[in-house]
């Protein structure tokens, strides 16, 4: 176990094998190459990508696979373009609160892909004409949860293929 003191959640311990490597860091944070995904034990709506290097640095994230027609190009194509394996991908988007309205917004412009098999990740930047870095989310958390559950159900119903691995992976932790 690796102990990290002084995080926004206090002192935490994480298993070394859960560390996710970001060879290029995140955009604007090139030195931040190691993170762990912390998930709350309850709803799993939101987790935190906690830096291993900087205890005070944590990005709130949510599963990005619930957004309609997202991402474009596909996660596989994106992973390929950044040199990640394409077989076992988790898709996360960073969320933030709008400083004025306090409304939640998701950074759909630059999702985070994680190759779960090698635990390697990268922040990809999509077409800024199609995706916003400040995509407004439903302000009512219950509505948000419901929208995402509906999307998940729809996908499961549509798919002859199994439900998104990204979802399964994100749900797998923190149970």
């Amino acid at each position: 176990m690796i102990r990290i003191e002084g995080t926004k959640f206090g002192t935490i311990e994480v298993a070394a094998e859960t560390v996710i490597h970001f060879p290029n860091g995140l955009v604007g944070f090139p030195a931040e190459t190691q993170f762990v995904l912390l998930e709350r034990s309850g709803g799993k709506l939101v987790g935190y990508l906690q830096s291993m290097r900087t205890p005070g640095l944590a990005f709130p994230v949510m599963d990005g696979s619930g957004f309609e027609s997202y991402p474009e190009p596909s996660s596989e194509a994106l992973a390929n373009s950044v040199g990640l394996a394409t077989s076992d991908l988790a898709l996360l988007v960073i969320v933030a609160a709008n400083p004025q309205t306090k409304q939640l917004q998701a950074n759909l412009l630059a999702p985070i892909l994680v190759d779960v098999a090698t635990r390697t990740g990268a922040q990809c930047v999509l077409d800024p004409r199609k995706f916003s870095a400040t995509h407004a989310l439903p302000s009512d958390p219950m509505a948000l949860a419901k929208a995402r559950m509906d999307a998940a159900k729809q996908r499961a119903a549509e798919a002859a293929a199994p439900p998104s691995e990204a979802r399964a992976v994100v749900a797998a932790g923190g149970v």
Binding site: K8, G28, L45, A58, A96, N107, A110, A133
Partner: protein
């Protein structure tokens, strides 16, 4: 800061594996053709800056999400690789 004069069709090589070629140029617009290896992000400056800004905002304006309680599960918190691969086998 290095400033280099190039004509259309001429190249600049950065490191051993990044090439920038001047594809065309008018008075106000230069078109660049950039070849870089996978994993090296190539972004328009303003797009890069927008992503940096969003990342900084998310990290610094740390949100007390109303629907996030304090009980962040740090122990089993990482994506469990074993669990994850089991899930995947199940779904195969």
């Amino acid at each position: 800061m290095l400033i280099i004069r190039r004509r259309v069709g001429e190249r600049i090589v950065i490191g051993s594996n990044i090439e920038v070629t001047v594809a065309s140029a008018t008075k106000s617009i230069v078109r660049l053709a950039i070849q870089a290896p996978k994993g090296i992000p190539v972004l328009r400056g303003e797009v890069h800056d927008a992503v940096v800004e969003a990342n900084v905002a998310a990290a610094s304006g740390f949100i007390e999400l109303e629907f996030v309680d304090d009980s962040v599960d740090a122990g089993g918190g990482g994506v469990g690789q074993d669990e994850a691969s089991e899930e995947n086998h199940d779904s195969d």
